[in-house]
């Protein structure tokens, strides 16, 4: 089994596939317990963001190394409308949709590293990493 995976996101069922794929890969790398749940939950949130804002995109999962540390990288990539105001999207309680406004700020709390790149009309890429403790 390879140490990476790409999950296309086109329907709500794909959100379930993405988080299961992420949990499996994280488990294989050596994550355990609540870390697996945290990773799966963060993937669920970014995958739903893709579906709600861009209609489709993909989740790319990769094993990453930094020195002796091992981690899981989750990239959520879409070609949707983009996020016009990223600082605002990262505020708790802010949502352009019917969400609780906890998706992106929540993911930032769940994962160790969190970055967003977005260009209006071109799409959004969210990159998150969780390192093994």
């Amino acid at each position: 089994m390879p140490n990476d995976a790409v999950v296309p996101i086109r329907s709500a069922a794909d959100i379930v596939s993405a988080r299961q794929e992420g949990r499996n890969l994280a488990g294989k790398i050596g994550f355990a317990g609540s870390d697996l749940t945290v990773i799966a939950t963060a993937i669920s949130e970014v995958a739903r963001n893709i579906l709600e804002h861009a209609k489709q995109g993909r989740i790319i999962l990769d094993l990453v190394h930094h020195g002796s540390r091992v981690g899981l990288q989750v990239v959520a990539d879409d070609s949707g409308p983009g996020i016009p105001d990223i600082p605002r999207a990262l505020q708790d309680g802010y949502s352009t949709h019917r969400g609780l406004g906890l998706g992106l700020p929540g993911c930032r709390r769940l994962m160790d590293e969190f970055e967003i790149a977005s260009e209006s009309g071109r799409g959004t890429t969210v990159t998150m990493r969780k390192w093994m403790r």
């Binding site: 709500a12 749940t37 945290v38 949130e45």
Partner: protein, 123 residues
């Protein structure tokens, strides 16, 4: 996958068997709200023991279930949230607010018995 809903005494028990998609969760919400009326249920238990992820959509839907059932005159209790799921929910900032929760099915039934009282026992 459609969640089976069992009727026991005056209660409905939704026993989630596998990971649910957003559509499955909405179906569960609609089924529970409809069956509350059809069976004249006094309480509903949603058993989430097998769920390994409760994200913002799931929380929003569970809250909607509880509020809608409450508007239909019955009580709802969510049971079986696993410790690591509770951990992730807190990190994410998710709260079930005024929705009742209990450790497991047994505690959930005891909760409804206390809330609804003896009437249900004679059904």
């Amino acid at each position: 996958m459609r969640v089976p809903i069992l009727k026991q005494r005056d209660y409905l028990i939704a026993s989630i068997q596998s990971a649910l998609s957003d559509e499955d969760l909405l179906q569960l919400r609609d089924d529970l709200v409809e069956q509350t009326g059809r069976y004249r249920s006094r309480g509903a238990i949603v058993d989430v023991t097998v769920l390994d992820v409760i994200d913002s959509f799931a929380v929003r839907t569970l809250r909607a279930v509880a509020h809608m059932i409450s508007l239909r005159g019955a009580e709802t209790v969510i049971v079986g949230i696993q410790p690591e799921v509770a951990f992730a929910m807190v990190q994410l900032g998710l709260t079930l607010e005024d929705v009742a929760t209990a450790l497991d099915l047994e505690e959930g039934l005891a909760f409804l018995d206390r809330r609804i009282g003896g009437a249900a026992k004679h059904a």
